[in-house]
């Protein structure tokens, strides 16, 4: 991978098994094995994806529902291992996928900051130091001492955003995160993200708002049923996308 490349995606394919009846118990498995019809209904959510993102570039990912955007972001962030091809990234990656999921419901906001921070690979000393900043940014106030199961979904997303953006990442992966929270929090998030942009972070950005993508990104790609159909400067790609969707 060249020095100035932050993300390189080569020939990536992602295959899912879409079984109508998911075989998840042993009896069925053996019956099917004996009858030799343990067939999988294969489905490629991504196929032959190739692109590179240079350091400091902000790439918008466009596409209809189910076109594979979230899958692509999960592959890049390492949560999913691609069935084919190879993904390389350089530097610290901060994945902001499905904010608010992945917390421990019985744990309080405070406890979740430490647990979730540990999952993201932060150190205890770092979290101690940043705790107030995280709590402040989330704007949860005294709710920070309340179990997460009593939070609204917006509150969970706010906490998730606050924890995940406390580091200064080299690569920021955003999956429709700027559409959560109330207007006030959204503006706050956007400001924080803009701040990171100024510091030269590389961004992979999914949003259904074309206006937002054009405002925040300088490059874009379009996915259509798991294939890459356009790649280039954001305005050019946005025009293509508009034609596709109208």
């Amino acid at each position: 991978m060249k020095e100035n490349v932050a993300i390189s995606v080569k020939d990536v394919g992602m295959r899912f098994n879409l079984n109508q009846e998911h075989v998840d118990n042993l009896k069925e498995y053996f019956i099917k094995l004996l009858k030799r019809n343990l067939k999988y209904n294969e489905f490629w959510a991504l196929k032959g994806i190739n692109f590179e993102v240079k350091k400091g570039e902000r790439l918008g990912v466009l596409g209809l529902n189910g076109s594979g955007k979230s899958t692509l972001l999960k592959v890049v962030s390492g949560v999913l291992k691609p069935s084919a091809g190879k993904v390389q990234t350089r530097g610290v990656v901060a994945p902001l996928l499905e904010l608010g999921a992945g917390f421990s419901p019985q744990y309080t906001g405070r406890e979740n900051i430490y647990l979730y921070g540990a999952v993201l690979g932060y150190k205890k000393s770092f979290l101690d130091e940043k705790f107030d900043e995280i709590a402040d940014f989330s704007g949860l106030g005294e709710f920070i001492e309340v179990p997460i199961k009593n939070y609204s979904s917006g509150m969970k997303s706010r906490l998730g955003f606050s924890i995940a953006t406390i580091v200064e990442p080299d690569i920021l992966i955003l999956d429709e995160v700027l559409s959560v929270g109330d207007k006030k929090f959204r503006t706050k998030c956007e400001k924080k993200i803009m701040n990171m942009f100024d510091k030269g972070v590389t961004v992979l950005f999914v949003s259904h708002s074309l206006e937002q993508v054009q405002r925040l990104c300088n490059k874009a790609i379009i996915l259509d049923s798991g294939r890459l159909v356009a790649h280039g400067a954001v305005d050019k790609v946005a025009r293509i996308y508009k034609n596709m969707t109208d």
């Binding site: 998840d24 118990n25 042993l26 009896k27 390492g78 949560v79 999913l80 999952v119 690979g121």
Partner: protein, 261 residues
């Protein structure tokens, strides 16, 4: 070397392991009034009940029978609760696994270690009961670490295997709870072994690695005699084989987990 890389990678997740262990222990006792004290009360209560029922049934009126029962019960419940937690370690952390990449074996190790920690705490009860019933420790008490470590390794191996299977086949959970029950009957927890040895069924002890650990633990703690070397080596071999099998099975399948949870 690859091994070096794995160890370095593992050390990076030390803090996560600590947080997960803390979470498992904290949540287990959250909202219970007595909290972590239950790790002491529960074995004490079961010991009393088992002693009362089976001590009378088998006409056992020797002074240290409660210690005999307690040794078996503490070790066995560590084995059963840690393997049960290991079984759920991957499927139960699905939400987390789907969001952030973390080596997934960390979840299994965390669930085994959290049960090991509660087991170590519950040993306080054994010390207390031992003192009250005037069990005289000998130097062989130090050998108690062998069966304990062997059982820990065995649980980890079984946990890795069960966690993997549980991702693909949800009924493993039910099969394992039946299996655990059978193993418990064959582990001489609440009955004296001579009852079985006389009946020609003694072979169950010779193939049950959990019993072998319990027996050696009793040798060290209760009887103050050297351990049974055959049991020790045999259970150690089983433990190492289970761990190797578990590690391989888990490693080969871990990338597929996310598609099934």
């Amino acid at each position: 070397m690859d091994i070096k890389k794995y160890i370095k990678n593992f050390l990076n997740y030390k803090y996560l392991l600590y947080e997960l262990v803390k979470k498992n222990i904290k949540l287990k006792y959250r909202r219970s009034y007595l909290g972590i004290l239950w790790t002491l009360i529960e074995p004490l209560l079961t010991m009393m009940v088992l002693t009362l029922v089976f001590g009378t049934l088998f006409g056992r009126d020797d002074r240290t029978f409660p210690v005999y029962v307690l040794c078996g019960r503490l070790l066995f419940s560590f084995f059963s609760s840690s393997t049960k937690a290991g079984l759920k370690a991957v499927s139960g952390n699905a939400a987390m696994i789907k969001k952030v990449y973390v080596p997934k074996y960390i979840y299994v190790i965390a669930s085994i270690i959290s049960n090991f920690v509660t087991f170590l705490i519950s040993l306080i009860v054994l010390v207390g009961v031992g003192i009250v019933l005037r069990v005289h420790p000998t130097i062989y008490i130090l050998e108690a670490v062998f069966p304990v470590i062997i059982l820990l390794v065995m649980s980890l191996g079984a946990g890795l295997i069960l966690a993997t299977l549980d991702v693909f086949f949800r009924d493993v959970e039910y099969i394992w709870s039946v299996a655990t029950m059978l193993i418990s009957y064959a582990s001489a927890i609440f009955y004296p072994t001579d009852r079985v040895i006389g009946t020609g069924n003694a072979w169950v002890f010779d193939i049950n690695p959990v019993y072998m650990c319990i027996a050696n633990f009793r040798n060290a703690v209760l009887y103050g005699q050297p351990m049974n070397i055959v049991y020790c080596t045999r259970s150690a071999i089983v433990a190492v084989c289970l761990l190797a099998a578990g590690a391989i099975l888990f490693y080969k399948n871990q990338d597929k987990f996310i598609l099934h949870i």
